[in-house]
Symmetry: C2
Subunit: 303 residues, 2 copies
């Protein structure tokens, strides 16, 4: 592979209209994830389906060879058709089933609409407020990744609120049964979604028996984020449980979610409420996701 | 990042002695995994600790920024200090505990010595035959990755047999209590380790209550290999169980292992036999690794 080939005029031309994280290598388009210091991933791209610049970020929908259609924000893979359902199911169904009878749900972030689509499988939910700052992300996903976004787009219970989630929850009291923080990594704009102040506001937005879940990053590569998230939530909630899932398209493979709850314990959840139209989660997976490896137990000093 | 920079004489020089999958990019050395069609991974390298050419392959030990010391064969990451223990523990402890009282173990492959190191934690094992075709791999790992290989290197019960595993098992009868196939991917030399003929020979090498395990690839990216492995093993063993683990340094994250057994069922194993000096596996993880996601259950048509 001669990487200098993309200097030729012809091949460089195709790149002119695309952000620089798309590179032409050997006449093929590749998405080059460049933001990590020590690891880079290149994904071979069939087609860049859309390329928008929102007020917040570069928003691309691509069709990739291995992962199908994908949402890419500022050059970083966010959700893929191939495995996006694993993350979206795990962050959605666990709180929806842990709460005995949720009526009103809040989603912070979740621009791919995957979480809203999963929640919409619960008939008992009457309202799903999805607060996503970037309208372009939502529009592009609804238009171009229906496998992930269509359920939400077609469900009248989903309220799309294109606002800053941090401002949205500030001052909300006693409103939601479940709240899900589907943030990107805690760098740049999403950093505040990992702050203590935000978690306190979110806690206040919950009803007295409310349940919240956040993605708490890789337990291997971001041990500090996970530990910090747990210790903040433990200050405000009597029940805090971390669970895990595999996320094939994230480097690091294993991902953690942390659930915090005033009353309902996921380890005692009534699993007959779990819907069956899922690709990943089932009762066994629900239960086993709370079994943590020794190194995590040691990290939490709960041994 | 200008990838043409590595054309300069000075930077190219350092590469002269290294195989071409080590590239100089922006004055840094990177391992570029190039063998996949649709995805490439680049790992930033602190130091190439050793670079050997065995009769079978390029054998490199590197120190990498994110994964610590790693074994690299023909430019493909095989085992890393950061997460190698997950794979090695899952493929070793599950058969060692499923069998009620194993005395004699066989490992096919496993050149990094991680499986032999894990098995050596079981005092009841009297003999561990490790059959690895490439002596250079074993020597380099013992010398340079003691975190993975030292236990095996220092254990007199481990017999290092530098032979072709396929030939080794041919004709063996009624010899082993447990057998572990720790192969690389089913392309090139390891392909035969996924063949029916080999599995039949391996079956014959087991005692009447023997247990075998093989790595059966990613359930997302290599569904066909997993299905084929299961259907071959089901012809010859009454008990066939697939279990899963996360393997962060493999793209695809989730990995599958398939256990085949004449008598002992891992779902009824006596988990008090599981040793406690592990980083990943514990009783809960042992049990929960057999909980499979819906898409796998559907793939197996066992629903």
């Amino acid at each position: 592979m001669d990487l200098t080939e993309n200097k030729s005029g012809k091949r460089a031309m195709a790149k002119n209209n695309l952000p620089k994280f798309f590179k032409e290598i050997d006449k093929e388009t590749w998405l080059v994830e460049d933001e990590r210091d020590n690891m880079k991933l290149h994904y071979r791209v069939k087609e860049v389906i859309s390329s928008e610049k929102s007020p917040f970020q570069h928003v691309n929908i691509i069709d990739s060879y291995d992962f199908g259609r994908c949402l890419v924000l500022d050059g970083v893979m966010q959700t893929t058709e191939l495995d996006g359902y694993i993350y979206n199911e795990m962050i959605s169904h666990v709180p929806a089933v842990t709460h005995e009878n949720p009526k009103k749900a809040l989603i912070i972030g979740g621009g791919d609409c995957g979480v809203a689509s999963e929640l919409s499988k619960y008939k008992e939910l009457k309202e799903i407020d999805m607060v996503e700052i970037d309208e372009i992300v939502v529009k592009e996903c609804i238009k171009n990744i229906p496998a992930i976004a269509a359920n939400a787009a077609n469900d009248e219970r989903v309220n799309f609120l294109f606002e800053d989630g941090v401002k949205f929850v500030k001052g909300k009291k006693d409103t939601y049964d479940i709240a899900i923080v589907d943030s990107s990594d805690p760098v740049g704009p999403a950093e505040v979604l990992f702050s203590e102040e935000f978690y306190v506001d979110l806690k206040n937005s919950l009803k007295k028996d409310g349940v919240m879940v956040c993605q708490s990053q890789s337990p291997i590569f971001h041990k500090d984020v996970l530990k910090r998230t747990r210790s903040i939530l433990k200050k405000y909630f009597p029940i805090v449980r971390t669970y895990k899932a595999v996320v094939p398209s994230y480097p690091g493979g294993m991902w953690s979610f942390t659930l915090a709850s005033f009353k309902y314990d996921p380890l005692k959840a009534n699993l007959s409420r779990l819907v069956s139209n899922t690709k990943y989660i089932n009762k066994e997976i629900f239960k086993s996701s709370f079994s943590l490896p020794n190194f995590m137990i040691e990290d939490f000093e709960e041994k």
